[in-house]
């Protein structure tokens, strides 16, 4: 399935959302995004990793090395306090936008 064009900020929000419950490694994040969007978004490594690095340096995510469930040494990401705040603010903003967009499109 071709990857739909992601709106600016959508990928960030999806990453924040997937990490909201627990820490995860890159592959896990990509799998989780695919699950929660019912396969609508397949995030490729080429988009995922730059986004993870950017968000880490912005202070939203922190990372540490650990072992995955398959005993493979992997880098795990989790939300920081700032990242959590960001996630809340972003999701509210997104809901407002999508509501607004939806009602705009329904208008006659």
């Amino acid at each position: 399935m071709p990857e739909p064009e992601l709106l600016q900020g959508t990928l960030d929000l999806l990453i924040l959302k997937s990490l909201a419950l627990d820490k995860m490694h890159g592959m896990g994040i990509s799998r989780r995004i695919s699950q929660i969007t019912d396969g609508a978004f397949e995030v490729k490594a080429g988009s995922l990793f730059p986004a993870l690095y950017r968000m880490e340096q912005a202070g939203w995510l922190s990372s540490e090395w650990g072992e995955s469930d398959t005993k493979r040494r992997s880098k795990f990401y989790k939300l920081t306090r700032t990242g959590r705040g960001r996630f809340q603010a972003e999701s509210q903003r997104w809901e407002r936008i999508s509501l607004a967009m939806a009602s705009a499109l329904r208008a006659t």
Binding site: H25, M27, A45, P50, G85
Partner: protein
């Protein structure tokens, strides 16, 4: 953010490794997932790779993000900092200017310290270059060397790769290139330039056995031989003899030396071969004209050389007890010797200027504190919006860094302008002046200073902001404690600087108040160089000797007739202008000294009229007269110190003594002591001898003319008179005695001026700081004062309270400053003349000055507090 940037820039390798690991894990996990979905391992890997996209491209994207985000955040902070500074331009201007002056002054003084003290000497492997000296328990340390002793040192020592000697006396008159010119010469052994490691710009150095060869300095070559490259191999006429030019020194060659070396000669124009290829005659152990150098063999420590030289000195003492009794040899690294006399002074200056910078930093920190207080609401808002403490700290630090960078940039520009200006005004006895410039090391120093200051004043509000939680009134007691501590620090540093400045100024004044022993006003001096027909016969009673007297007589007749001239005379050396000739003597009727023990004294050839012209008083007996010449009985005049020392309870006038030439000379007078070696140095025993009767005459007569008009206006008449007597005699070093005296305290004057300047700057900056803090405190307490006055406090009470607070800070600052001064005082004791490091008057004076300024700085805000309308201030918030 700074750490991320640091990691990006410096921990690249590790970051790359981690990225590789992470991506490999991802690929593996995707493959495993595909297998779990039922693919064959090969197909699973293939699909995983396909989905992944190009490995390199992914990495490239990540890298771009890594650098980009760091820079992005940095730029964002910088923009934010600049924006917030622009919102408050007076704060920004004060902070940046304060810093610019502080950094500029530091960079300038460090350039001097760097050029003079820190840079390696301009020779290869300079740490192996050693100066070698004779020592004697009574004559002193660092004595110049006897040729025969040098010859033995060189022959017997094994620690040195090379040893060379320099004789700074030869003088040459260059003819055949237009007007005759006097050239200052040095005779050096053939190893001298190879020892220093100097590569000639043209030609070569001379060989040991060559005679009548000469090496020119670059400027001599340029000035008199028009840069002709054909000069090498051609002949030039020096002192009426033909010399072959074998080499020209490079333009940047300079002989780094201590100002007291070489009998105060500051430059050499031509270099001839000293020879010393065969053992010198026995009498060459009794004369000490040489300056000796050695280059240690690689890996040989100085201590080993010292031990070896001690053994050699031991042998020489045994072999030649007459000349070498009690004589030792000491090696001193050239690096150390050349700057020994200025090291303390320069480091003191550097310390002073660093203190000024510290005060400036404290001021900026205080300004930042005030700002931080004003911005607490802004910060609280940002924190509430999710900015982390760390992020806010980063922003504050970035702001300090922006201030530091702007201030330092301006400071560096100031230094680039002031260093060359300063170099022109440095005292002449500072070595290596030509090496003072803003170079890489200076830039590194400035960068370090910038970082240090930025962090220093940036951290203060930061440390503060941790303690401060938002409270209703916006000011916590912790903050005012920090301010008070900064102010106390500033005041105490300012006091240390003021005390230093006070002491040095007083020392300079004491130096200038020393009566030099002669009169300084209305006196012109000039030096002549006599051609060889005068010079060659320098033995007593020869025809050439009479020629010199005849020249002096003829010139005298003409000078006497110049309008305005009162009196005049000749001397071989001027007061305050370097070393003398030293002779041992024997007093008639006294038992002979044991071998190796000498009565010795400096002596100066002078002519009749010299004492009158320069104003040295005759205390007893008579002055020299025209009849004291070759054909009349031999006479001498001694100074008061010599009379006191050698004839403690007798009148020396009428007594006789003799030098090595065995002729008895009668003492006909006693004259006043003169500070010949420097105003701060006590006069030594000295003897004056009529020029015509000197056993071994120096041929550079210096004329001293006393006039009733401006002495400098006599120059051209004097020049004309000389040309009439002998057109081949060059005249140079024309100066008034006032100029010479002033020049002799140049280093001391420079030092006290510079320190005073820094101290005034410190006083100014510190008082501004105190003013700022008091104003701030007053404005914070407006409401409180309003209430007090509303319930009946008088204006006077409020005024006293604010003033009292300022006075308390000032008092603590002054006391701690005095304590520091007491601790540091002995470090500058060697720089002071005629004043103790803990001079009570000076310390009391600067304390009062500082306290007065501090009170004034608190008075203005205090009056504002007292004059405020209580109703207004109550309404204010």
């Amino acid at each position: 953010m700074l750490r991320a940037l640091f990691q990006t820039l410096f921990r690249k390798k590790r970051a790359e490794q981690e990225l590789d690991d992470e991506l490999a894990a991802y690929l593996e996990q995707t493959t495993a997932e595909n297998v779990r979905r039922g693919m064959s391992p090969e197909a699973a890997l293939q699909k995983a790779r396909r989905d992944f996209g190009g490995m390199e491209q992914v990495k490239e994207n990540v890298r771009a993000v890594r650098v980009g985000v760091s820079l992005d955040i940095l730029m964002q902070d910088v923009r934010y900092a600049i924006r917030s500074l622009r919102k408050n331009p007076s704060f920004a201007a004060i902070a940046i200017l304060t810093l610019a002056f502080g950094i500029g002054a530091n960079t300038t003084i460090f350039s001097v310290v760097n050029g003079v003290l820190l840079k390696p000497l301009p020779y290869p492997n300079p740490d192996r270059l050693i100066t070698l000296w004779e020592t004697h328990p009574t004559f002193g340390q660092l004595l110049s060397v006897a040729p025969a002793n040098f010859y033995d040192w060189r022959a017997q020592s094994t620690s040195f790769e090379k040893m060379a000697a320099l004789d700074p006396y030869p003088d040459f008159i260059l003819t055949g290139t237009g007007e005759p010119r006097r050239l200052a010469g040095a005779a050096v052994t053939a190893d001298f330039f190879p020892l220093l490691g100097v590569k000639m710009a043209l030609g070569r150095s001379f060989w040991a056995t060559e005679d009548h060869v000469v090496v020119l300095t670059h400027s001599t070559w340029e000035r008199y031989f028009g840069n002709r490259t054909t000069i090498v191999g051609s002949e030039v006429r020096l002192n009426d003899a033909a010399y072959t030019v074998v080499g020209v020194l490079p333009r940047d060659f300079s002989l780094v030396n201590n100002a007291s070396d070489f009998q105060a000669r500051t430059r050499f124009d031509v270099w001839t071969n000293l020879g010393l290829t065969s053992p010198p005659a026995a009498w060459q152990r009794a004369t000490h004209p040489l300056y000796a150098y050695g280059r240690l063999k690689p890996g040989v420590p100085l201590e080993q050389a010292r031990a070896e030289l001690d053994r050699i000195a031991d042998d020489l003492r045994r072999l030649y007890p007459d000349d070498n009794k009690d004589k030792g040899i000491i090696p001193v690294p050239l690096e150390e010797h050349a700057v020994a006399h200025v090291r303390t002074a320069l480091f003191t200056l550097l310390a002073a200027v660093v203190m000024v910078l510290l005060i400036a930093c404290a001021n900026i920190a205080n300004l930042l504190l005030t700002r931080a207080a004003a911005r607490q609401k802004e910060m609280a808002l940002r924190a509430a919006l999710g900015a982390s403490q760390k992020r806010l700290a980063q922003q504050l630090l970035t702001e300090s860094a922006v201030l530091a960078v702007l201030g330092s940039g301006l400071g560096l520009a100031l230094a680039l302008w002031s260093v060359p200006a300063l170099v022109r005004h440095l005292p002449a006895d500072l070595p290596r002046i030509s090496e003072i410039l803003v170079d890489g090391r200076v830039l590194a120093f400035t960068t370090l200073m910038t970082l240090a200051t930025g962090i220093l004043f940036g951290l203060v509000p930061l440390v503060q902001s941790r303690g401060v939680r938002l409270n209703a009134r916006g000011v916590s007691s912790g903050q005012s404690r920090m301010r008070s501590a900064l102010i106390v620090g500033q005041i105490s540093i300012a006091l240390v600087l003021l005390a230093g400045a006070g002491l040095m100024t007083k020392s300079l004044r004491a130096l200038l108040q020393v009566s030099p022993g002669f009169e300084t006003a209305h006196i012109l001096t000039a030096r002549f160089s006599l051609p060889p027909r005068y010079a060659n016969g320098n033995r007593f009673g020869t025809a050439a000797h009479r020629e010199i007297s005849a020249f002096q007589r003829e010139l005298g007749d003409r000078v006497r007739n110049i309008p305005g001239v009162q009196s005049f005379g000749f001397a071989s050396h001027l007061p305050l202008a370097g070393t003398n000739n030293n002779w041992s003597f024997f007093i008639e009727g006294r038992p002979p000294n044991p071998p190796g023990v000498f009565d010795s004294t400096d002596y100066r050839p002078v002519t009749a009229g010299y004492f009158e012209a320069i104003g040295i008083p005759v205390k007893r007996g008579r002055s020299f007269e025209a009849r004291d010449d070759e054909d009349h009985p031999l006479v001498v005049i001694v100074n008061e110190t010599m009379a006191r020392q050698f004839w403690p309870n007798e009148n020396p006038v009428g007594k006789r003594l003799r030098f090595g030439d065995q002729n008895w000379r009668m003492i006909v007078g006693i004259v006043g002591d003169v500070h010949h070696e420097g105003l701060g140095i006590a006069p030594a025993p000295e003897m004056y001898i009529p020029w015509g009767q000197v056993p071994n005459v120096e041929v550079r007569p210096i004329v001293v003319v006393r006039s009733i008009i401006d002495p400098a206006s006599l120059t051209s008449a004097l020049r004309k008179a000389v040309a009439e007597v002998d057109p081949e005699v060059p005249m140079d070093q024309i100066a008034t005695m006032d100029q010479l005296v002033s020049g002799s305290v140049g280093e001391s004057r420079f030092r006290s001026t510079a320190i005073s300047l820094f101290a005034l700057l410190a006083l100014f900056v510190a008082s501004i700081g105190l003013y700022g803090v008091m104003s701030h405190l007053v404005s914070q307490r407006t409401r409180e004062f309003g209430i007090r006055m509303a319930v009946g406090a008088t204006r006077g009470a409020v005024l006293r309270q604010v003033l009292g607070q300022g006075a308390k800070l000032a008092a603590i600052g002054v006391v701690s400053g005095l304590t520091i001064t007491a601790l540091l005082g002995r470090l500058i004791a060697s720089l002071l003349y005629g004043v103790k490091p803990l001079d009570a008057t000076t310390l009391a004076g600067v304390s009062i000055l500082l306290a007065a300024v501090a009170l004034l700085a608190s008075y203005i805000p205090a009056r504002r507090a007292a004059n405020a309308d209580p109703m207004n201030s109550l309404r204010y918030e």
